[in-house]
Amino acid sequence: MTHLFSPSLDSERKHDEPREAIIRFDKVSKTFRSGDGEHAALHDISADIFPGSIFGIIGLSGAGKSTLVRLINGIEQATLGEVIVEGQKLSQLNARQGRKLRTTIGMIFQSCNLMPSRTVRDNILLPLQDKDLSREEREQRVDSLLELVGLSGRERAYPNELSGGQQQRVAIARALANNPRILLCDEATSALDPATTTSILDLIRTINRNTGVTVVMVTHQMSVIKHVCDEVMVLDHGTVVEQGSVYSIFVNPHDALTRTFIETTSNLGRINDLIHADNPAITIGKRQRLIRLQYSKEDVSEPLVSLMTARFGVLVNILLSDIESIGGRPIGGLVATIEGSAENIESALDFLRKKDVRVEVIEHV
């Protein structure tokens, strides 16, 4: 609902001069009208996507993610508000200008959408057909794209002769054929196994770093966001519940949905499974509490726990601990039981909070 740009986020931006957004959603709403009435798919969305960044959109099924990216290249039109791409208000473009803009935006779909009757080469050639290029230039472009996506030698195969991951690579090559300034990925990896997903995401990130293409990445997996995105928007039932840099959102998620997403990627999320499974490792006695800690400076963890134990006379038993790197910066966390008098536990936790550790007491089920 609100745009939770924490102050720390602004200081994280590397560029000091104000940047011009390449894609801007300005109070965008989208309502579908069908036979049996209206359906509000998106409500009052505002966001800036900056050139060269990888912008993630995450949400549950039906949240409106696909609708939102499809507004960017005009497959859908906003009912209210304005989508501005490279300074152009989409609602004010005529058909020809719209087509011209679309040639500069590549799109990758979950289902690849390769043309089944065309070979890999012809699929990649498709967006190049209207370009003023010589035959050799075209062929060279296809060859270099095939090499980029690691499919050299398969150019004469038909899509049905390729694996899902290979098909998605062809789709990436095709989306990049026109040297787009924007690459839209709608669940590009959802149908793939984890190893293939990682290789596709790495490929997209490499391309982003090398060409500066702005990437908008729709997903329902937080691991995808963690792996490649710089910024993220969390969508729930057509509204933005959280938005900011991926790091800031991992460190300090405000919305319950965001926390749920984060827990799916973190080892600490496993505590919920253990609780649900009534695992004997986490039977909690009278004088015990189950806590989850999260800290963003790796050096603080161990000393803090030791300090706390010594100073407040509490016992800490670590059940799970985790440290991971997001955008090259560490985030650590642990789940532990803490034992002592209620008073001592409270002061110990206060001590942690003062040290910028996020503390959560997990209520027992």
């Binding site: 497959i75 087509r99 011209k100 289902s111 043309m115 089944p116 009757s117 209207d130």
Partner: protein, 227 residues
Amino acid sequence: MFDIVARWFPHVVEYRGEFISSIWETAVMVGVSGAISLVSSLILGVLLVTTPKGGLLAAPLCNRVLSYAINVLRSVPFIILAAALVPLTRALTGAALGLRGAIFPLVVGITPFFARQVEAALMTIPSNLIETAYSMGFTPWKIIRRVYLREGIPALAKGTTITMVSLIGLSAISGSLGSGGLGDFAIRYGYQRFMFDATLASVIVLLCMVGFVEFVGKIVVDATTRQ
């Protein structure tokens, strides 16, 4: 060999000149009206698929009118349609009989059916392929050419085969209106003059033609299907 043929098909042998030219006439009738109908059916079929609400060339009213007209034409039995078209045929081609007179009613008779076959074939193309082409900034015409007509080739080949078989049937019916061809031959000799072997020989040749069309159709479908 010739003896056996002469024993079983005495009248066909007797009128072999006419028999052979009627085979040729049927081939020309089916070929020419099929080719003309193919072009008009592709246009109509594309319009049927692209003009509904939300389509590439959305024009819902046009779509409804077209669809209704096709249904009306399809519901008229061919023999009646051909008879009703005689004045128009004569005005257009200068003849109501013979090859020249036969082609126009055949085109009118088969096109509504063919257009529906084309429509059904083009509907098999997943909408996300159309969307993909749209997202590349293609014009509607380019989407039609590069996706509908190109990706639809296997399904179009199937529909064309079915249509050609029906067209061979229609060409034989139009024989009863004096169009020439194998239908005409079978009626004039086999039916009116009780030369049963003339009918039998016509049937065999028509079956061979159908078989040939289906054979070619299958080759095209098999060569282009990539699923």
